[in-house]
Symmetry: D2
Subunit: 344 residues, 4 copies
């Protein structure tokens, strides 16, 4: 059994991690920390977990106790993993960080987008970006894994085959993304209230969202060079789900895009390339670690439209983190991640 610690378990990614790990036959949660909820039983905060975690309580963060775990997940605001990672790595823990702390390889870019100096730049070289469909082998041997953000996961999986094949105009890519409200986390903000966020839809952060540099970094890797990207996130009136609608101009019109995508993801158990002409709905992946993708060329024109949907809390966060754990600990990639989405 993998002995697991979770730092910062009171948010939505934390409670989803708990739920996934409860059903995972090779891992057990030994410790979950929360500064604000220390001493409170997990099921008091999360009544959905009654009968599952009745004996587990939140404890104040304690590096010594965490160091006794095989694996520590960070489900924290940015900056926390910077602080704790060096000591825990020294003690031999494997770290899987769901925050943004180690996603960007360039510490200056991190500082620019997060408004303070990077707290552990010495670890950037060995941090592995935890997108299994791109980095599977590196993840297997990593000590420090940075789980991708939710938008970056949906966008990169959707664009990767196209850019990697070198058949798109990389200078003008567009990612129009729609996210459920859980992407904003469990913070008590007025904008996330049911009365404000339901029955409405709006774009936000059009001038620059923190996921933009992360997506660009990934797409550069796919394209093998610079890319131009416009990324517009939208808040949609639903709990879960990301729908990325991706636009690019093809420069090679003879390539069979459907075959390209199907071949590219053949060995990836969590990416489902739909039949030509399909329109994936976010509900078809809700509660699962699956990404469903459909590729279109409307009226056989120059523009490719890729539709890519994920559950932002699973493939976009906690599910992807467990997928990384499986790879890192030599387990079947899909272990504990066989949840089937409900139709409704």
């Amino acid at each position: 059994m993998i002995k697991v610690g979770i730092v910062g378990g009171t948010g939505y990614t934390g409670v989803e991690l708990l739920r996934l790990l409860a059903q995972h036959e090779k891992a057990e949660v030994a410790l979950i920390t929360s500064r604000s909820e220390a001493g409170i039983g997990v099921t008091e905060l999360f009544p959905n977990l009654r009968g599952v975690y009745d004996a587990l309580s939140f404890t104040a963060p304690d590096a010594k106790l965490l160091a006794a775990c095989d694996l520590v997940f960070f489900a924290t605001p940015h900056g926390v993993a910077h602080e704790l990672a060096p000591e825990l790595l020294d003690k031999g823990c494997t770290l899987i960080d769901l925050s943004a702390d180690f996603r960007l390889q360039d510490k200056d870019e991190w500082a620019k987008w997060y408004g303070k100096a990077h707290g552990a730049p010495q670890l950037l070289d060995e941090a592995v970006y935890g997108l299994a469909e791109v980095n599977r082998e590196a993840i297997k041997n990593a000590r420090l894994i940075a789980v991708p953000g939710c938008y970056p996961t949906a966008v990169q999986l959707g664009f990767w085959p196209l850019l990697n094949a070198g058949i798109a105009d990389n200078a003008r890519l567009i990612a129009d993304c729609k996210s459920g409200v859980s992407g904003a986390g469990r913070a008590a903000n007025v904008g996330s209230l049911l009365c404000e966020a339901s029955e409405s839809l709006s774009a936000y952060a059009v001038n620059g969202h923190r996921h933009l540099p992360e997506i660009r970094q990934g797409l550069r890797l796919a394209a093998g060079g610079e890319v131009g990207l416009t990324f517009v996130p939208h808040l949609a009136p639903m709990i879960r789900g990301i729908h990325a609608t991706l636009y690019a101009e093809v420069i090679d019109h003879k390539r069979d895009l459907q075959a390209l995508y199907e071949q590219h993801y053949q060995g990836s158990p969590f990416v489902d390339v739909l039949p030509a002409g399909s329109h994936p709905a976010t509900r078809t992946v809700r509660g699962s670690n699956i990404c469903r993708i459909a590729v279109h060329r409307p009226q056989k024109g120059d523009t490719v439209v890729v539709l890519s949907v994920i559950d932002n809390l699973l493939k976009g966060a906690s599910g992807q983190a467990v997928q990384c754990m499986n790879l890192r600990f030599g387990l079947e990639e899909t272990l504990g991640l066989a949840q089937i989405p409900a139709l409704l």
Copy 2:
């Protein structure tokens, strides 16, 4: 008082027309027809209208009775207005058609997208496209007004100033649109059930939606030439609202876009150009005839992003129809359309 008849009043545009006209001081509904509900009281079908239309019942369509009206609205499936329009025009009625029957100026294009021959091509020359912000003067003198579709309204109002100024690359425009479920009407389709459409988001008709030729026709007019447009509609889990996210490449970087939009819409009481940096939410126009628009150039790059929101049932249908009525009958453009959106 304008004596009004409504053909096909049992759908969502019909019931919204009824509601708007009840509050309009210069019009009164004399007649509302429905083949399926003939004999049923309006308030039996629409209990929200109790106390307002207690004396009105649906009647079977009857050209003679309709001909006695000053103005007939069509809130019907396509094809019905084709059939009835010639006779009613002959009898001196003014017609405002909320269906697609007279929106496209080219009868062959109509036939291609609607799957049958156009039923009244002889009227195409005089049919006026009812987008007041473009066609105000023509509407004032029209006998037959074709109210624009919901997507076309949001997209055209958002793109118009940009294309009209000739500062965008017209060959590659993108309109990524999100609509509430009421856009699908009151038909009992499985896909519109709460259990299927809520808590989910998906694109549809990526390969070609009936509003595509209508939008293209309008944008050609704005641009004074051919345009290339990719239009992707999405179904969002809410009742009302359209959010159009529009992308274009600017070729003249010196132009002040904010000023351009503000000036363009100065005389248009229903278009509200938001301050630079804004993100309009669909709920800020819900229940009103307002279109709110914000213009962005993310990170001062080449791509312009225009956000345009309307209530699909009002500015995208029944409200716009009343706006046309006001213009046509020499009334204040805003008469009866002063509804203020609720915050929630």
Copy 3:
């Protein structure tokens, strides 16, 4: 024109008051106060009001400025009206309080339920409970009007004719109530987040809700004696609306309940008694000041079931406040309150 001041205008009842008063031909908002938002334009906080209140900003509360108003509405947390009312009444203002400060006639009961001493017990004798359907004449002459709570409005209007007729067992009344989330106000609480409150339903405060003593006080008046009431409020996954399902045992089986209710509310323009056998949906009153009521005796048994629906922000708060204003200032009771609910 009635010169209106609003104290505490940043919540949902405040923004709804603003919206209603903008459409009211005999009142104008001269002043709106907010400690936290002083200096901010109303339309910055509430973009739905753009074009309507462009010139109005929140100001810090200032008794002198408020005293210059004919009428001051309190849309504040409890306790604030206690503090300001004495001075404003002295200066000749009429006060309409949407908070709970003057709803209970017994200062000790107030202290028990609100956890501190009543702050202005000397005003209790003259405070008039603002339920027009019960207190119409008293409201016309009141200086200080306490607008009823949302649950109390729906429950009292539903029970009143039955209890007043003396044909129910008053010892065991049940009010099972379901409310939209806006009843919890605009406070940023985790429980009101879309992610927590949508797609779920739960009871709360079963052991005692602050509206219980207010309802009991009203029902005692209706019954002319003591009543036994069980009141269970529920949070329903929607923005607006209260559905009260009321249960009582009839002791006089011959009485025609339908006729009783219809006669009782004959002179009340905002109460709509539905035909026998009806089931009012909350959406049929959304956005209006209407209360719709249906009376049932399932299978002709002893139990009466009354269904009573209102929009909690209108008939349950701001609409009722305007109704009180109309009565108090000698205007038509319905002035500015003719909004017709949308079907959807």
Copy 4:
């Protein structure tokens, strides 16, 4: 492996059965029938099941093929099981019927509520009501199991301990129930459209719902005698979940109700009696077979309020059916039913 056939698999209970059985290690779906969808692949209709049932298609109902199964589930409208059951039982199949066909023990009552004669009265004697918490032993030996309705499950589990202990006034019980829209099934009715059912709440069938006789039959068994019940179902704007709010008058005030409920359900793995003072939300059971119950006596008065929540599609239908299968085939009662509800 239990060889399973499903009759009528295109509705919501059918697709949930498929999902549960896919994760069940001792059962496999050999056959699924649908008259309307015969020949269509299961994943074409239900894209959420891609990768799980890729090889399964709907077939026309065929008694011979069904007879080759160990177990046949009926997920059909009423009447279908009447027709097929006799032959399948003869051939040695076990039948678990999710429809209403065998829930009522009295064929005349069935005829009264379902509007036609009972189609297989000869089987009523041996049909076992599939509420495991009441009938566990009988289910183990049954050939024909009638899975309870969704409302009856929530109400019976909530009332049972109280009535069985003989400490309530059985003559006047009230069940005020709120259901998600999936309770209405996958039929394309206008009333179940998102535009009609979301953002609203209403009661329905106050004068008599088909689940009333079923609940009464169960409560009579619990009470050991006649009961008087008022049952009011409501449609709540959410996909899944039933919240039953139950009211009864206690006649023995000394009994510790909390202890009574906890003891009663000690051996029932799917009933979770919450700590005193709790308010279960429907979301805490969504996606699981759990029923959570809380018992209140507001202000220590005579009225007991029991709150009982289930997922109508699982404990109220398909989950309960699998629970019955487990018992009937000698498996662990919880096998394949360990899904943990998500917090959101």
